[in-house]
Point group: D3
């Protein structure tokens, strides 16, 4: 039986910390599906098409990983793909609490799907998409935090926004 | 002297975790007043009238509990009702920090009103209104988290919202 | 029906933080029993007779409080005294975790006895018996942390220990 | 060589907890620059001019402190002013996590600027600008939390808002 | 390639929380080796032979699990058995910190072995061997926390100890 | 006025994490005194003379740092040396709690001495003396965690201990 795991997230945008967790997962499971959450109620910097493109580019070097967008509950997606596990990265205490709540909630809805927590390289302990967006918005250097492809997309995005502001 | 306690919250909507804390409080105090916070600056899924109705339905089996809406500081409401304690549920570390800040702030404004922390059943450790709203919005199963009355209200609310979206 | 609560601890020795919690408890319950834990397996600075004497002196100004030593499980003592609650002070996150484990364990053994958490005055946030013993052992000033009676006992205890060391 | 430190923040508005940290910093460093963050993407109660005025008033009794607004990354401002340290107040665990992430991020962008954490007086443990705004919006007493100047500004601000609401 | 994981611990004694984690691990990996730590410098209630016997009894219903004692570093044992992962249960924040330190330390010594964190059933959140030993020492009811075999061993152990004390 | 800071600890033995904090402190203060705590009641692997030697070797490359042993309260030592600050490294939440308690306690005994918290390089987040001793006792590789001098001392120490055990 093939062991399939789901790695859900917004990936707005994907960081090197995410890529690190996906690489580790790919050693433990036969196949890993990165599950891009589409939540129309949540505002994101990049739209779902842009975010998917960046994830696909960032994981193209790992053979047993695929990417899918889904606009429902993670457990429903996991059941549909016959996954046995949901993967989450744990970096800090604040992650821990929220992740535990979500994991217990998911277990109450799908008893036989376990959440597996992995720890990224310590270089990525402090990294998350929100901090990356923040640094990029002030023209800070982000090349240690995201892939070149994502760095370029971020630079373009904030250039557009500024041009847009000037034209208002 | 009758010992009165206040249990404040937004209850958007009330969960079985809230009901569990109210039941425990009703054993310790002579009377418990559930204080529904009305904050016009805060957006809620249900309006205050709907929220009050759901709380009243959820606690109707407990004789020494009443429900009141109030649009001011909890300590001002507690003084008005001559309460000697404010009740808060503690589930997790993140609760702890925020709750402690609020409790110390309240104590600095009303020295003789103590905050009493109770622990819900561990089945409700992961439960909060925001997670319930999130699961319901994706048609997830919520019957283990809220009363039947609330479950029905949530289903109707999200049906309305989707109908509304389609008509736009 | 009289509402009785148990406040368990080693009290080696009792600090002003403990006294603060006992005073707060005495406003919420009809009677509070300070339950001095006797655990022969645990080494203490003061023996159980000395510890009881210091607790009794520290609470003699509160009418509805009594002190009892017990060498068993807290829940067994609580059942014996028909208590409806166990009181615990919460000062910091590290307390929180341990206290929650104990509270859940106790609930699993005595379902109808709830643990009630209270917050001491913020002056006592950093205070515990172990830090007090440590400061006293180096002749540090402890008058803001314990009653005069306890301070004297601590000074005598460490004087004895040093005399004892010199005579070896 | 003069040792310069930066104390960054939104100060919306400055609280007595902030002032406490600035005073402590002024004993450790030769000069402290309060760095008022201007982030056009973030909504604040007071505009940057009002916030700067309140900070200036609150620190006017400390000789080696100045105030500057800046709309970029803190590390860029620190480099520009040849500062060797960034100062942050630590009150609680939730601070800790976020502050550590920011400090590691800043270190990755400016290796030779260290973040120095100081602890405010315990009276200010529970204090932050958001709680102060909240209490003031309900006409709660805030004189223990902010300077008289800030208290007056808050009262005026919420009076304006209410007048504005009535006129709509 | 067979995926092997190590589950290290003292198991003094094994609890139902440990068994829960072992069961979950057995679904994710091809083979799980429970690694009983033998540390001559650490005092345990049960000797290593007794502890191994109790673990073996507790996991005899799971086909892909074996038990081995080892008196060295976990990473050295993992390398010897060609394991690709070390499994740890995460129940609470205090676990989290210690476990992260150990996981980072282990990674620094064996880069290609990842630590995989799993979450036990919430019924076991509060459970650890130390609390079980404590409750058993006071004749408390432990049947919800350990297997029948372990419960019997604990009862016998404390009976022996008391007989021993009386004979001194 | 010269700014003097105290960096207290047991240093049993000093790690590269400690050295990192001392280096950072030496940039902020005019002089840093490493205060080796001598507590006769506490068992250490190395005696105070050995520990002092290892600290002195580890900081010999930093000009404004000296080392002194002291068997009393840190605040008393700080007063004696006219220090204006006590330095502590913060790596993790568990540090945070304990450090805050100690810092508040110290402030209550010496109001004008502030505790300054610094963050070590993230490579040392997981490092402490106890883990180093543990790894060394099992012949694990410790060259990334301590200086060569300390590594040699640890290897000798555990060789001695094993020889001693065999001769018993």
């Amino acid at each position: 039986m093939k062991r399939i795991a789901i790695y859900p997230g917004s990936f707005d945008p994907i960081t090197l910390g995410h890529v690190d967790i996906i690489e580790r997962s790919s050693h433990i499971f036969d196949h890993v599906i990165v599950n891009l959450a589409i939540n129309p109620a949540k505002t994101t910097l990049f739209n779902s098409k842009e975010r998917k493109l960046m994830v696909e580019d960032a994981v193209k070097h790992i053979s047993n990983v695929s990417v899918e967008a889904f606009d429902g509950l993670v457990v429903d997606f996991a059941k549909k793909r016959k996954a046995s596990a949901i993967i989450r990265g744990l970096r800090a205490i604040s992650d821990f609490e929220y992740e535990f709540q979500m994991a217990l909630m998911n277990r109450s809805m799908a008893e036989d799907i376990d959440t597996v927590f992995l720890m990224p390289d310590e270089r990525y302990t402090y990294l998350n998409s929100s901090i990356v967006r923040n640094v990029a918005s002030f023209n800070g250097d982000i090349k240690n935090f995201v892939t070149n492809f994502v760095a370029q997309k971020l630079i373009n995005k904030f250039k557009e926004e500024k041009a847009h502001e000037l034209n208002r």
